[in-house]
Structure formats: C-alpha cells, structure tokens
Assembly symmetry: C2
Homo-oligomer: 332 residues x 2
DNA sequence: CTGTTAGCGCGTTCAG
DNA sequence: CTGAACGCGCTAACAG
C-alpha cells in the first residue's frame, strides 16, 4: 500500500489537515477529542510525516553532520559521542561520515550542508586548506574540533596542542631525557603545533634534538614500528621519544622491546590521547589526556549558537585543559 | 543574501525553470547555448539545488544510514568503509550513527528510514528483538551485517560464527588444550552462536568445559581483564581460553601474564576479529579473520537490490568465509 | 478551537 | 528544443 499522507489521516479522522498538523506539532490549540481521533487515525494508517516535505516547509532538518578522516580512533569516536549526546538534548540527530582523507569525498559531504541536507557541520581535521575552512565558516554553520584552522572566521574547540606537547617533553627532560626524539606528523595542523611544543621545550632546556622523524601517513601502529626502527639505526641512540599518538607510541615501544632494549630503562616513550591503547601497552604509556567527550559537547553548543543566531555570538575559539598522565613508559 | 532558487537561475540565465532543471539533471535535450547560459548563472549565483525539495519531488534521497552500537570497533569501521565505498560507486552517500545500545535512540534512527530521511538502512547488531527486525525487513529496505536475526524475512551478510568458533576451539584442542574455557557474551546473537560452536567442539573432542564465563557488557579490554581474573581463581586452571574478541583476549593475556603465568605455555589464548589489537598484543594473538570490508560491500549490494527492486530479488542470507590466523598466543 | 488555502523549491509532464 | 503549469506532502497564516 502507498504511504499515508496528512490528507489520508485527516479523512480517516474526520478532521482537516490543519488539525492533523497541529496535533503532529503539539500545538495546544486542539481539543482533546480531535487529538484522540487524529492519534487513532495515525496509528491505524501507520502514518509518519515525510521528512523531505517537512524539511522543505520548515527550512531546517534538525540534523547535523560530523566529518572525520576515519572513524576508528578513540579520540574521534569519543568526541562524536559527546557531540551526539549534546545534540540529542537539543533535538538534533547527529550523523557521521568518514572522508577517508579524500578531498573529493569531503567536498561532497560538505555540500550536504550547502544543499540543506543538514543544518550544521562539525569538522575534524579537514583536508581542505585553512583558507577554505575560513570561507566556509564565514557563511555557513561550521565548527571545528581538535584542530582549528588558521583563518579569521574559523572557530571551534580544541586543546592547546603546542602547550600539551611542551608539557610532555618537559616531563621527559625532567625525568632524565637528554637526547630527545619525536615521531609526529606534519600533515595535520595539530601535528605541526605539537612539533612546535617539542622544539620549544628542547630549546628551553638547552638541548638540541638528535632526531626528528615525521610521517605524513596515518598515526597507526605499523607506522610507529617503522619509524622507531629508523630511530634505532641512529647513533647516538635517543633516550626519550615523544610520539604523536598512543597507537604510534605502542608501535614504538614494541619495536624497541623487540630490539632487546628496555622501556623506559634504555629509552623512555610518551604517547598522546590517553586512549585504551595506552593501557593495553606494556609498559603502560605516559600520555596526554584530551577531554574528548567535553570537547564534543562544547563543539555542538557552539554549532547550535551558530545555527540559531544567524550572525552574532560566534563563540570563537575555545581551548580546554589537557592533563599529563604519568604511567610506566617514562621514568616517572 | 537569501539562497538562490531555480527561479533565480532561470531569470539570470534568461531561460525557463524547466530548462534549468534539465541542465541540472543532465538531460540531453538542451542546446549548448542554453547549457552555457545556465551554467554561468549557477556559478554567478552560487546556486545549489535544495535537497529537501529535490528529495520530495523525486521521492528518494540517495542516502543510506548505517547503524551500530558504537563506532570504535575495528570490524565495524571496516565494514562501514566497505559499504561506504560500494555505495559511493552507486551514487549513494552513507551516513553513520551510533545507537549507544539505547533502544530509544535506535528507534529514532530507524525512524529516519520510515520517514524518508534515507532510502535504506544497514544494521549492525541491533538491540531490538529479532521479531521486530523481521517485521522491518518485511516492508522496508533494511539489511543486517555480521549478524542476522532469526526471522523469516530478515536478511544480510555475515560469517558463520558458529563454525568459526568451532574451528578455533578445535585448533586449541589440537594444540594440546584439555581444559577449555570461553569468555564471550550472550547479549549479541553472534556471541550466542560462538558459544554454540565452542560447546560443539568441546563435546566432539570428548571433553567437558571447565569454565564458561560470560558478560553482557561490551567486549572491551577491562572486561577481558576482569573475567580472566575470575578464570584464574578457578581450580583446576584452564589451559586454553577462547575469547569473543581480540580486545577481550588482549585483556585476558595481560591478566594472565601479570599473574606470573605464561601465554601460551601455561594458558593458550585465542581472539576473534583479526583486528590491529591482535598484532599489538604480546604475544601476538591467534584469531579469526572476518572479511569485514567485503561484508560491507556485499551488504550494500544487497541493500541496493532491495531498494531498487521493490519486492523481488531478496538476496537472502550471504555467508562469507572466515580464516583462522595462527600467531603466538596459542601452541601453533 | 477548526477548516481552507497558499506556497516551500523542485522535476516533469504536455503543448508548442 | 523550450516554456508554462501542476503537484510532491507539509506547515502556517488567516478567517471563521
């Protein structure tokens, strides 16, 4: 059978479409008897308002979209959980889509905001240039999370990656590190900021970095192993390695251990994110905790303000505090 | 400035809305000159067709929704990547949403199919009863993946969980296991099937299971540790443990190791999924590989058939082959 | 409190 | 090849 419409419901209930619509939208100006009749008809016909018709008429969808390169990341999934919970409290549905780091697919997804498929957008480390993000933020309801483009109009929620890296490297130095190395990435803005923090801490201590390794690939376990192998080929060996993620740090620890050296005895290793990987690793990883869930919540709040207050009240950039978690992979 | 419509484009280009629409949809029956004029006007006005209006008119959205309890799972993210790639090839956008295991939120998301927000649905271990899944599959475009409800109309793509568990437990027995234990879950259908496979293999070998531990919570690392601790309190100790996921197995290995016993020397441990956790664990885990990406692809193909061929061609249940990966956590 | 009606923006007839 | 006009299903404004 074909899908029922308001017309059908109205006919079955013996009222007008206006009344049906009022019941549907909880208008108080409806008699109890009408309400009951409409409710009965809706149940009988198994009626559901058609989303596209409603969205067209209301000019909004009550849906937002969250974009990330990939979903299998403890930080991303936690951020989106926070955003999703906050959104739900305001009646919004949060949809998630992976871009796979493909600019074309990213563009297609961003178009969903432009063509009104969703009301707002949360972006996690976009592949597009900062300038484009700024232009978008200028006219559309977009908020970034964990990384904020270096553009006037861009706004979002993040930790201070530079400071977090600085704090971690200082911890490595305070616990005996003298030949410092870093395994990071320059592909992401947050990675570049962490590198800055690393360099600053090393310089302030009057040391010079012996090795600096970077990868433009993903922050995965195998990359960690591969880069640690390079590190182990260097002389003199580093005695402390700062990694851009727990997963990379786990790979690094594994490679060092397999080579017969001890962590942290011979080489201390630090991670980033405080994901479950940090606890799964042996020894458990010293790391930086990002308040991912809270960041997601705040990102949605900011987005909501942007969506509901057309031009004003841009909350700007919000930075949340990070936390140094000392475990067993450094000489705590 | 307000959003441009086909009307605006038509006026700017000096043609009718019909012509604009034809250009938009690539109709061949348009002169080159009209095409050029319309293209110019579209660019000038930065015009995008409004999704809700188009969806209403066309009665479809070219979007599908993929549901899972949580996103931070190597299998789920890989399945959805496969589904997303296949969908993209057919012009569909794949949206993903976590249910958090909350029936209410799950229902709200499923309603997106009922109200036409999306054209199809891929479900990953739903919380709703099999019967409800069957009812849905009867009338709506729904396909399950990794787990298929025990209902006439339900269909989807999965491995044979029962057989996979059987194969793994037989491997444990063939490599010396005599006192077999399992850490699984009865909350999910796949978990119950794996338990069946476990019991069958133990029975066929003429052994009896010494311990059987189950949790209704998530398959996470901490659960693995906690349950392994219970296992270690039993006498006689098991000499082989089959776990329902790599993550649980990693927790199990960690607890055993911390207790001063050796894996696999004292107790062999097996995982499931062949996720990156299996390689991160020390010793690396023997596990079962699920062809997750391919399962996602096939799930979408099945869904596409369901969406485009109203009633016929239900592909039914598709089972893909699994693979036993022997690594170092069992006496391979 | 209720019914009627006018669009929302678009795709698609049907004439020409 | 093109333009005019209708209606998808719904909400909201207006009259009663």
């Amino acid at each position: 059978m074909a899908r029922a419409t308001v017309q059908d419901v109205a006919k079955t209930a013996g009222v007008s479409v206006g009344t049906v619509s009022r019941v549907l939208n909880g208008s108080p100006a409806v008699s109890e008897s009408s309400k009951a009749k409409v409710a009965a008809a809706i149940r009988q016909l198994n009626y559901r308002p058609l989303a596209s018709a409603r969205d067209l008429r209301r000019d909004r969808t009550m849906r937002i979209l969250a974009l990330a390169k990939n979903l299998y990341s403890p930080v991303i999934s936690e951020v989106f959980r926070g955003a999703g919970d906050a959104a739900a409290r305001s009646g919004y549905v949060t949809l998630i889509a992976p871009t796979a780091g493909d600019p074309e697919r990213e563009q297609q997804l961003v178009d969903m905001l432009r063509n009104g498929s969703v009301d707002g957008l949360i972006m996690f480390s976009p592949t597009m240039p900062d300038e484009d993000v700024g232009d978008m933020a200028e006219q559309l309801s977009v908020v970034q999370v964990c990384e904020i483009a270096d553009a006037e109009a861009a706004f979002g929620v993040s930790i201070d990656d530079r400071q977090a890296a600085f704090d971690m490297v200082r911890h490595l130095i305070e616990t005996g590190g003298r030949r410092l190395a870093m395994i990071g990435t320059r592909a992401a803005r947050s990675g570049r900021l962490r590198e800055e923090g690393f360099r600053k801490a090393v310089a302030e201590a009057g040391l010079s970095p012996d090795q600096m390794l970077f990868t433009d690939g993903d922050f995965d376990f195998h990359a960690g192993r591969r880069l640690a192998r390079e590190l182990l080929g260097a002389r003199p060996l580093p005695d402390a390695v700062f990694c851009g993620s727990d997963t990379v740090a786990a790979g690094c620890v594994r490679e060092i251990t397999d080579a017969g050296l001890r962590v942290p005895g011979d080489i201390a290793v630090a991670g980033f994110d405080d994901s479950i990987q940090a606890e799964m690793c042996v020894p458990e990883l010293t790391t930086i905790r990002q308040p991912a869930y809270a960041m997601g919540q705040l990102a949605f709040e900011a987005l909501l303000a942007r969506m509901t207050e057309p031009e004003g009240h841009r909350r700007g950039r919000t930075f949340l505090p990070h936390e140094l978690i000392v475990r067993d992979s450094t000489n705590g």
